[in-house]
């Protein structure tokens, strides 16, 4: 369970470090990938979804490669795990440890207590997404490539909105429950299942990861604008989930 802003900073930095290491490794591998893209297409051909991904990267060039490696692979998968882990203990962790009464007994309103935890946890998830994304132009200069800051910002906003929904679902459950481990396991299992569905061509459209795949990010890059058909509803869903968490928390008995 993470408690206090220092804890969130530490976990957020940890998440940033992992993202950054994966990103740096991926970008340094770009020349080799570009050179051997034909071979990868052959390797991927038996798995239709994998072939589709490689084709999308091929069409997108370095931008397709970066959004695939960083946003789709790094942020969407690890970010989901981070969002679940950072949110699941927010309230349920206090109940599990028996410290809920102590936490609530101070002269601080429940609105403030919950909002602080919600915002700090959410920042610990989304700030690393933006921070790591903004290191991409510098890393790309090492392989004589470049990407626009504005494209990276738009992709990061899209990614953050998605992770905000995942985080808010886990947070709502935490506000209702008292077993953070169960919340984490069930949600992580559900996210793995959702990713598995994404990888099956016939049912891929039923997966939440369709919202954050290479095709969606390449649309954002190509059109130079956010896709509000996705971002708007995702922000609205997060807001509703937060309000439901608050409602549950206000009624909660220590």
């Amino acid at each position: 369970m993470i408690r206090g802003w220092k804890g969130y900073v530490v976990y957020g930095l940890g998440f940033l470090l992992v993202l950054e290491m994966m990103l740096a490794a991926a970008i340094y591998w770009w020349p080799s990938f570009a050179e051997n893209i034909g071979k990868y297409k052959v390797i991927a051909s038996p798995i239709p979804m994998l072939k589709q991904l490689v084709d999308q990267v091929d069409r997108g060039g370095v931008a397709g490669y970066v959004v695939g490696q960083h946003f789709f692979k790094g942020c969407a998968t690890l970010g989901t795990a981070a969002a679940i882990l950072f949110a699941s203990g927010a309230v349920a962790g206090e109940a599990h440890r028996g410290t809920m009464e102590l936490w609530l007994a101070r002269p601080v309103s429940r609105l403030r207590l919950l909002t602080e935890r919600y915002v700090l946890g959410l920042l610990a998830v989304i700030v690393p997404v933006f921070a790591s994304s903004y290191t991409i132009p510098a890393l790309l200069t090492r392989v004589d490539q470049t990407m626009q800051w504005s494209d990276l910002t738009r992709c990061s906003i899209h990614m953050a909105a998605f992770l905000g929904v995942v985080y808010s679902i886990a947070f709502l459950w935490s506000s209702l429950g008292s077993e953070p481990l169960r919340i984490s396991f069930v949600m992580l299992f559900a996210s793995i299942l959702t990713f598995a569905i994404y990888m099956v061509e016939t049912i891929t459209n039923y997966s939440l990861y369709r919202i954050v795949d290479i095709e969606v990010f390449m649309e954002i890059v190509m059109r130079n604008r956010l896709d509000w058909r996705f971002v708007g509803p995702m922000l609205a869903i997060s807001a509703v989930l937060y309000l439901l968490s608050l409602r549950a928390f206000q009624r909660r008995v220590p």
Binding site: E101, R251, P254
Partner: protein, 329 residues
């Protein structure tokens, strides 16, 4: 949850209605029709109680009687289902943050953050208070010999209890609500804690103290509120306990005497109730005049001769037993 009014605290604290009733004045606690249930379990039946400013008020009752729920309700930790609560002249509304600013509450269940150092735990407990309050709490804790630079996970149960106590006594407030504050303390520390509570009460603070330890309640409390199954079953002051005691006669007989027939031999008319316990006959008179009973006792020559007769004495332990039918600790 009660959220019918939303006037600012200063206004609510000084409403004419509140001013008319002294029990809604600063330092007082007043509840009306307080009802609470958790699912099918009724934790508090409609409960009315008024506590005047100043002094130590003991809240007694067996486990599950509703003491902790009552205390949590007073500071807004449990959402109010029905009834009205006034604390320190302020009506409880919403999540009770304004009342928690004007009171301190020490929970009975003791779960601290083991990874924090004692000093940080105090800072956590006193969030929302000023720095001077924190310093006072640290001084009290250090005065009790607590190592504030050590992590709380290394503290004993009693040390944790003292840490919570130090934090609860530090804020400059008119009301303190202390749930089982001396539980787990050794006799010396318990006495130290009670000394601090009594000194604080003398300075005009109202202290609502729940406890299973009758000895400490007997020593510190000027008023005793007994709760059972969520209902107020007795509300006693020192004078009402002596009035009750004036109706009690205890007759002690020598070892080996069979007392089973004594109540019947004396006849039901001489007392409200009689019961035999070991070598003693406990008699509750109908009035505070024991002469009729003593005459009946002396006139019945078939009864064994007593070795001692006491009148007008009632220990808290006996009072507890008479109210709950079980021994207090």
């Amino acid at each position: 949850m009660n959220s019918t009014r939303s006037a600012p605290p200063s206004e609510r604290a000084l409403t004419p209605a509140a001013a008319r009733t002294g029990l809604r004045s600063p330092g007082s606690i007043s509840v009306r029709g307080l009802t609470q249930s958790f699912g099918d379990k009724v934790a508090l039946a409609p409960l009315d109680l008024d506590i005047e400013p100043g002094g130590v008020i003991g809240l007694l009752g067996p486990n599950g009687s509703g003491k902790s729920t009552f205390m949590r309700l007073l500071v807004g930790l449990v959402p109010l289902q029905a009834g009205e609560i006034w604390v320190d002249g302020l009506r409880l509304e919403g999540d009770g943050v304004e009342i928690r600013q004007r009171t301190t509450y020490a929970p009975g269940e003791l779960h601290l953050y083991g990874e924090l150092r004692g000093r940080d735990q105090i800072a956590f407990l006193l969030r929302g208070r000023d720095r001077a309050t924190r310093r006072r709490a640290e001084a009290t804790a250090e005065g009790m010999g607590l190592p504030l630079d050590k992590r709380v996970r290394g503290y004993s149960h009693g040390m944790k209890r003292q840490l919570v106590f130090a934090a609860a006594m530090a804020p400059d407030v008119r009301i303190r609500i202390l749930d089982e504050i001396s539980e787990g303390l050794d006799p010396a520390k318990r006495s130290e804690v009670l000394d601090l509570i009594e000194a604080d009460a003398k300075s005009g603070t109202t202290i609502l103290l729940s406890s299973h330890h009758l000895g400490e309640v007997d020593r510190s409390c000027e008023r005793l509120v007994f709760i059972n199954a969520g209902k107020l079953i007795a509300d006693e002051t020192a004078s009402s306990v002596s009035e009750r005691a004036a109706r009690i006669v205890r007759v002690t007989y020598p070892e080996g005497v069979n007392l089973d027939d004594v109540p019947r031999a004396l006849g039901e008319s001489v007392a409200e109730s009689m019961r035999v316990e070991g070598r003693q006959l406990h008699v509750m008179l109908e009035t505070d005049d024991p002469r009729a009973f003593l005459e009946a006792l002396g006139a019945n020559r078939s009864l064994p001769a007593p070795v001692a007769i006491e009148h007008g004495k009632l220990s808290l332990r006996e009072l507890y037993r008479s109210l709950y039918g079980v021994e207090g600790t």
